[in-house]
Subunit: 744 residues, 2 copies
């Protein structure tokens, strides 16, 4: 039960253009901001950008009912086939990209380590430090420059952005080709620069980005378009594919296909259907097969400095995982402290990011200087700290040569209980803890998973050393449990982290212990603050629709939070009126009202989307006299015309030229109006309206009055919009004058 501590900006009410100049002041108390609904902004990569909601609702208008998807079997088969093909492509690309990033990092960083250690073997320590620092700085500089100049949206993990998208908001630039390229190259160089950042988060963003680009058929800007791919004409199908992408990203990062599926389910997706489980599973299975194939190729030695393990290697084999009931108390303690450390980590990161945002907002130079500063500090610590401790000689009976001697790779040794000094572990833990916090916010694609796992593992092993002979648990096991407790304390996932850790360690016997630790650390940490991605999402200004309502929302009704008269259209509306309304308001949905002489009585007909009206205006689908059109209206339109544009590429009313003569003409909106919008009675509680928005994935909710306009009371009609929702509440706009002419 995550409470929210900041009720002061829970409600933001958006007034609409007041056609009748009669502003009602009844809900003035609730008003916090009176900016236009489309001015919802977010800080993405410390750059302010506008945010739009996505349309997840199926728009059921006459045109849709004529659409191919309700048509022939062949078309339906083609649609299903394309869905699976795109999932397959996402899986293949995810596997390839994940492998490429890994390979590039291991080769770049490996070469660097070989150069440095060769110089050290020659006892040229200053030379060694110089080349180490120069390479690190060069790589960081490259990463920061491309991030700052080409795509600021590529900074950071990317998981909060994808999560916000899957919750229903679209921040432009998140899924562009630029972001994709910068994310991949920037992450490779910043990880190779030995900064304390990971590649799992950026990989989730990268593969989601690939999924988004595939779903919109490539990028027009770079002329990389494939018409046969442009099959997903709506946000709903795109959301599904991007969900698969996020699962594939995590699966590629950790070679954890089941963990990837659960990660998408538990952390990323706000809406889930059982069909999605099957499709994400297919995607991650493809990733797993691709990775296995590529690793088979590399194991034959064709990939340069490619190690066998990847970055994370837990020293836990089935021989040393025995545990008993007597070990439970120390495991609980591990989880408890892990939860405390994790929530402290989140809170420190929050504060650090606020400072960094301030610096990053000052300009590109400041961004780059900040990144380089962190790089220099990290380099000094990495090079300097090993001098504090005494070295151990490389054991003579090691199965493979120690990696310090002129080669790159991981040093593997069974039974590591005595390998690390407690002081070394403590220094390593403290360094990791703070460097992780300081490194995340720089202008570069930085992940959180690996630093958190590393920090948690060193903490766990330290506790293992401290507990000494009081427990029979292996220290390698302690490291795994420490990583689990720290992950649970910061990210607050349970099932998915558990499965990811099991897939990393390849040891199912750990399951009950890992579960226990995760549950304890999450419970403890939840008492203090939110999970790390929610904190970052809030900092970036993404509106997020929670799945549960706050208690006070039960005491408010939708009509309590509405404000200002609303714009609506007649079923057959004059072009001039439409253009005026579209130009003077930022709304994306308008109720359509039917009335005499075309129908017997005035009543609402449905809801029409701005983007659909824009298509009609662009196609000049006009009538010289106001009379209903039949199916003729569809003749010059195809369903492709109504296909949703890619992220952030919506049409603008200003771009459409309409002559004076056309202004006097009419449009029959009926065939393009959604006659099945979701509705709510005006006394519906805010809590329930919020649940409806969340459960049905709504952007607009038509609020219908109960009083039915009897006894001379003017007919009133309301509309709730997802667009201007702030942190919690879908702002609701209300108009007494909507059924205008009724009371006259």
């Amino acid at each position: 039960m995550e409470g929210d501590e900041e009720p002061q900006h829970l409600l933001m009410i958006e007034p609409l253009i007041d056609r009748d100049q009669r502003m009602s002041s009844e809900s003035a108390l609730l008003r916090r901001s009176s900016i236009n609904s489309t001015s919802q902004v977010a800080l993405v990569g410390a750059k302010v950008c506008p945010i739009e909601s996505l349309d997840y609702e199926i728009i059921e208008n006459d045109f849709f009912k004529q659409d191919w998807r309700n048509g022939e079997k062949v078309e339906i088969f083609k649609y299903i086939f394309m869905k699976w093909t795109l999932c397959f492509l996402v899986g293949v690309m995810g596997g390839l990209v994940g492998f490429f990033i890994n390979l590039a990092v291991e080769n770049v960083a490996g070469t660097k380590f070989v150069i440095t250690s060769n110089l050290m073997l020659d006892r040229k320590f200053m030379h060694a430090f110089g080349s180490f620092a120069a390479i690190n700085l060069g790589l960081t500089l490259f990463s920061a420059i491309i991030t700052a100049f080409i795509s600021p949206a590529a900074a950071g993990s990317g998981i909060p952005e994808v999560k916000a998208y899957l919750n229903g908001v679209d921040a432009p630039g998140i899924f562009s080709v630029r972001t994709l390229v910068v994310k991949i190259l920037g992450n490779i160089s910043v990880v190779s620069a030995s900064l304390y950042v990971g590649k799992a988060g950026p990989m989730v963003h990268t593969v989601s980005c690939i999924a988004a680009l595939l779903s919109q058929g490539g990028s027009k800007k770079y002329r990389l378009t494939w018409r046969w791919l442009r099959f997903f004409k709506n946000d709903r199908d795109r959301r599904d594919l991007i969900t698969c992408g996020s699962a594939a990203g995590l699966a590629a990062a950790f070679r954890a296909p089941v963990g990837g599926v659960l990660f998408a389910l538990e952390e990323m997706a706000s809406w889930w259907r059982s069909a999605l489980l099957w499709r994400t599973f297919f995607t991650t299975a493809v990733v797993a097969v691709i990775l296995r194939g590529l690793i088979d190729v590399c194991n034959s030695g064709k990939c340069g400095l490619f190690g066998k393990g990847g970055l994370i290697m837990f020293d836990v084999t089935s021989t040393n995982t025995s545990y008993h009931v007597a070990d439970v108390p120390i495991v609980l303690l591990l989880g408890f402290i892990g939860g405390l450390l994790g929530s402290l980590y989140n809170s420190l990161l929050d504060k650090t990011l606020r400072v960094y945002n301030y610096i990053n907002n000052k300009g590109r130079a400041q961004k780059i200087i900040l990144a380089c500063t962190i790089c220099v500090v990290t380099t000094f610590l990495l090079f300097g700290l090993p001098w504090v401790s005494k070295c151990k000689p490389c054991p003579a009976d090691a199965s493979e040569a120690c990696p310090t001697i002129g080669r790159s790779g991981n040093y593997k040794n069974k039974n590591t209980d005595a390998e690390f000094q407690p002081t070394s572990l403590l220094i390593f833990f403290v360094t990791n803890y703070f460097l992780g916090i300081l490194s995340y916010g720089i202008a570069a694609p930085t992940g959180l998973f690996v630093p958190i796992i590393l920090t948690g593992a060193s903490y766990g092993r330290f506790i293992g050393r401290l507990s000494g002979s009081r427990t029979s648990l292996n220290h390698g096991l302690f490291a795994v449990l420490g990583a689990a407790s720290f992950l649970g304390g910061t990210m607050r996932m349970t099932v998915s982290l558990c499965v990811v850790l099991l897939e990393i360690t390849n040891n199912l016997l750990l399951l009950p212990l890992v579960m226990l630790v995760l549950l304890v650390s999450k419970t403890v940490a939840d008492m203090f603050n939110n999970n790390i991605y929610d904190i970052i999402m809030k900092l970036k200004g993404f509106p997020y629709l929670e799945a549960h309502a706050e208690p006070y929302m039960r005491q408010l009704t939708v009509s309590d939070v509405v404000k200002g008269p609303l714009q609506s259209f007649d079923g057959i509306e004059k072009v001039q009126n439409i253009v005026h309304v579209l130009k003077t308001t930022g709304h994306n949905g308008f109720p359509v009202i039917d009335g005499p002489p075309f129908s017997d009585y005035r009543a609402w007909f449905g809801l029409i989307l701005r983007e659909h009206i824009l298509v009609l205006l662009r196609k000049k689908n006009f009538l010289s006299v106001p009379q209903p059109t039949g199916t003729d209206a569809f003749k010059q339109l195809s369903s492709d015309d109504f296909a949703k544009k890619g992220s952030g590429k919506a049409d603008k009313i200003e771009d459409i030229e309409i002559t004076e003569e056309e202004m006097e003409m009419f449009i029959d909106l009926h065939p393009f109006t959604n006659a099945s919008p979701y509705t709510a009675g005006e006394t519906m509680s805010l809590a329930k309206a919020l649940l409806m928005f969340r459960e049905a994935g709504l952007r607009h909710l038509l609020v219908v009055p109960k009083d039915s306009g009897l006894k001379g009371k003017p007919c009133s009609l309301c509309i709730a919009l997802r667009v201007p929702l702030t942190v919690h509440v879908a702002a609701v706009t209300y108009a007494e004058a909507a059924c205008r002419g009724n009371s006259n």
Copy 2:
């Protein structure tokens, strides 16, 4: 995309009592049945029983807003604490029951095998067969008798019943104490009788049943009630706990905690919230810890004939799981044939169950005879078939003694590639295949998982033998993949089966292959029929609300499928009217209409539940004059009064005695009316209404007219009910006369 082949009973329209005797005939074409909505019946254990919908919606009335849950922090904390305590209890009980069933089966069946094999060692073959047959028949008879006489609802797997409950229908007897006891004892004896039935399904039902009983605070009938447990007053919280129970059941059956969570998510639950993931995970973690503790105890030899492995043991160790890209074709073939065999299995089982239903409906004697016949056939085959093949001597270098020599247990041997003859495998596979189909439908608690796994494993190993040297895959691996393909072909789960298999084999390296096989077999099998539980659910007559709408539903609106005038109440209604309506209709929700003189105009106020009206009648919450009550109305009522009764224990209007004098009094319904019901415009398409029912977990949907009663048109009001929904469509009832008096 599972199409439905039987559109003829898709629509069942329920007429309501016609107060005005004006039946509209506009939707007569759509009417299939005109029985009362509460007469929805289902065959449970071949016994016809009535079915009610569950109330998942939060009923937001004034009384609810005064309720403790919106009150003090202490109460909220208590509520959360109780939720977790109950999950903990479900986990503990699930672990204990699962262990007890396993222990009992291993001891009963083990003793039987020891007796039989001792007689055979003495070469007394007829004696051996006699005792083997007598014990089997006795156990089967016991199981069939208690099932037939005490709880017919305990027959079969129980998974379809739990799945139907979690989809929103409540068949009485499903979660009673009788069912629980019969399910446990009957399953132990029928499994010990060596019938081809499993214990996983019954275990899911058993633990779900425990969860249901805990959530309603025990059973009144058997005086096993604990007041402090009676904390869950609504179907919503009960649903959550039963979801945890189903996860715990599968976790206990296979010692697969993550698999259990995924099983609940993928197969069982129709509504899922992310909070549930965490809670089911906690429950299965408790199960895993309890099981581990108990097995630790048993390994020290205190549990009689308790083996180490349980029933399912795959011979796959990490040493022999190497596979390459070249092995993919044979794996694909395995999945393809598995899918074909699985869908054939489903279709044969469907036909067998139809025949069995016919026999079982004839009477208890017939039920018992059927069960005994299957037992005799199975016994003959089990005893006779080994004589067909030649025996192999027990290897001298086996690490433990062979189990045939006077002891019970599993025979374990590494590298079994040459252990089984192809003919033996083929005979074993065919016997399993058909005995599994024949055994499921008998009057006893029978599971499907184990027979399907056994059949699939023998099929896989057979393919392995046939492929000979063309593949390097180990035959044990073939057995696992065969089991996966057959499970995928019958049960059509993907992620959960995959994880269960990984947890059984304790080998994560198999993951990509198992995934591939499951995807192929599910895809192939989906072309022919539904998954096995959906088939059984349909046979049993449970209405099931699918997550997706059929294409034709887009062409219908809610008002197309409504029928007959509706009963509604005034805000302050005469007791006599209420009693009359409740007695003459079976509806569970009524719209409440406000009108003069208590309000300015006639408009709908909300929706009131039958069970809440019954509480008011029972508590004699009457007014002598028709005037609004304030908060006084709550004084004699506590939230416990409105607590939902346990499964199938609803109050009846006939049980409430009301005097002539009281009949003339009034009730103010306002404080108890849900003023935030979900509403739909009358032109909403049926497809969208279905999605609303499913997404928001509705029982009632208020259909509001668009025309607003202007220009003298009578105000109309509709209500859609979940109760009388049949296979696909929520039937919708409609009344022009609801706002009666408006047009006068």
